[in-house]
Symmetry: C2
Subunit: 341 residues, 2 copies
């Protein structure tokens, strides 16, 4: 056995090993154009035995085509985004396209860097979370000349296309459900995240609807970092001790809501009789809690699928006539922590 060549193999190596021109080897390896069964077999055999892996960098440069879709999301640790990714992957799996993830950690400057980095690989398209971006980011996206799908949120104007839910509306609908159930002393618990625009919009929609009914949020509590479940417990304790009159707690996500629920159950508080609870997201993860938390599905997987479908269509045909604005409409899931009436 010869020493492993330090130089990566090239088409030329396969060409020499098989006695077929580079061009024809390339054809075989890409299944393009007509090649006789005989040469085809020879080439495949040579490529395999050499362990040849094509160089996509050279291929992409020559063909001016890159089968990558840049997916830019705030975090992987928030279950929401891996679920969006599943939706995207599931759809792209049936195409030539491949998702490549970039993470921004909820920071606009990092988003800008990641975006620049990804665009410099000339992806076929971009899927990016949110509608709020720095001017530079928007400029890059607009100038890229490729399809751009902004996801998660539809409260705003997309650069090119968007798929998501209206978080304002989500907030409004939850407020309606809560008011309808007869709760009026309402507290809000959320993340200390000025940059979480979607949470902000939900809160705005929420307070707007309450205001129309003459109700104001009675108390609020925010957290950052740490285990959401534990934080949910702590915050709930804090807010209830500070404002015992509260009869409903609206959490900005299900994890802290679950923590709150566990706290209330621990304390023997009657949920939803004495206090009602609701979260947001509809995470399957929590099925199995002692009581099912009221929530609202953020339709994560569906958003991923839809976005990927748009991307696939647009990459195939940039002039495809498709809806570039897709607003999905989640419903309140009453669970068992919101009174029925």
């Amino acid at each position: 056995m010869a020493a492993t060549p330090p130089r990566p193999l090239t088409l030329r190596d396969v060409s020499e090993a098989s006695g077929v021109s580079e061009m024809t080897v390339s054809r075989v390896l890409r299944n393009r154009g007509d090649v006789s069964e005989a040469t085809r077999a020879k080439v495949l055999e040579a490529a395999k035995s050499l362990g040849y892996v094509p160089n996509k960098i050279a291929g992409a440069l020559a063909s001016q085509r890159v089968n990558l879709v840049a997916v830019i999301i705030p975090s992987l640790r928030n279950m929401v985004f891996p679920e969006v990714m599943s939706g995207i992957s599931a759809v792209l799996e049936d195409t030539e396209l491949q998702p490549v993830v970039g993470v921004t950690d909820y920071m606009p400057e990092k988003e800008e860097r990641v975006l620049y980095e990804m665009l410099s690989w000339r992806p076929s398209s971009v899927i990016i979370a949110g509608l709020e971006h720095s001017d530079a980011s928007r400029a890059m996206l607009a100038a890229s000349g490729i399809p751009v799908v902004e996801i998660m949120d539809t409260d705003g104007t997309p650069i090119d296309a968007m798929v998501g839910i209206s978080h304002r509306r989500a907030g409004r609908e939850m407020a309606q459900a809560i008011l309808k159930a007869g709760y009026t002393n309402i507290g809000f618990l959320g993340t200390k995240m000025p940059l979480d625009h979607r949470a902000r919009k939900r809160f705005e929609g929420f307070t707007e609807t309450l205001a129309k009914a003459g109700v104001e949020v009675m108390d609020q509590e925010f957290y950052s970092g740490g285990s959401a479940l534990a934080k949910g417990r702590e915050m709930t304790q804090t807010i209830l001790e500070r404002t015992p009159e509260l009869d409903f707690l609206y959490y900005s996500n299900d994890m802290i809501g679950a923590g709150g629920l566990l706290y209330c159950l621990d304390k023997g508080i009657d949920v939803p009789g004495q206090i009602g609870l609701a979260g947001f997201n509809g995470v399957e993860l929590l099925d199995g809690l002692p009581r099912k938390l009221a929530t609202m599905d953020a339709m994560r997987t569906e958003i991923g699928r839809k976005a990927a479908e748009i991307v696939a269509a647009l990459v195939e045909d940039p002039d495809a006539e498709i809806d570039r604005i897709v607003e999905l409409t989640p419903k309140v899931a009453m669970g068992e922590t919101l009174k029925k009436r």
Copy 2:
């Protein structure tokens, strides 16, 4: 304003706009070589105003260098892997290197495809979960000529380098802790995953140590799919109804363990008096449960960090003298579901 050029900008455009040669523009944009402050400013100005984004494909082809690290993991939906990713990102952030994720869905054939795809972009290095790969995958990795770090598991022989914990040992140590606490009627609950080698190894270590003490696993229960918390509940009910003598339940992950815990508390079972419980992973997510589950930290973030450090060192200098085998040693966290004595 002129119509947006459909053709992406090239170095040449910046060169013409700034009246500086392409080569010098390239130098400025990469901060390489000496360039006078005057030309530098001119170039930067031109690049910015045009909105030029360099083409890394061409750059990589010309320089034969790609600053990407391929990270290949089974799933993003299992919290374990996003945490490993954090560790990797945190370390690579201080380097030129960039992680790119590929997901295998726990399927060897998909691993092979993903690996092939990623290697065809000629990354500087590969970080891949597990020590078990198809022959083809191993061959590709070995032939790639780049540093390969296998992570999570150290029970086996790496292709090049490995960072992880010994899952056999983890199983043995948990068994010891359980025996020491005086439990003898032990049940095992896990995932129905023939391909989860690490869970398998834990189980092997576990039974091995029990056997030495003349103890056998009394009953087992497996699941697949669905919400782990809910499944944990169901499985626990099933196994306890089938084998009421059980006095300890060892779960292959914390989520199902948490489900089991909630079930037991619901039923008024004395934990850890009547029945002891333990999981695996040490997920922070669960802090905030009514009782702290006994578990064993899989050291996910640390594994990511270490792997990234090795990669960074080896990319910098392929002959760097570093440990290529790093076994981290987690400890049993007794929590509140394992008797003390």
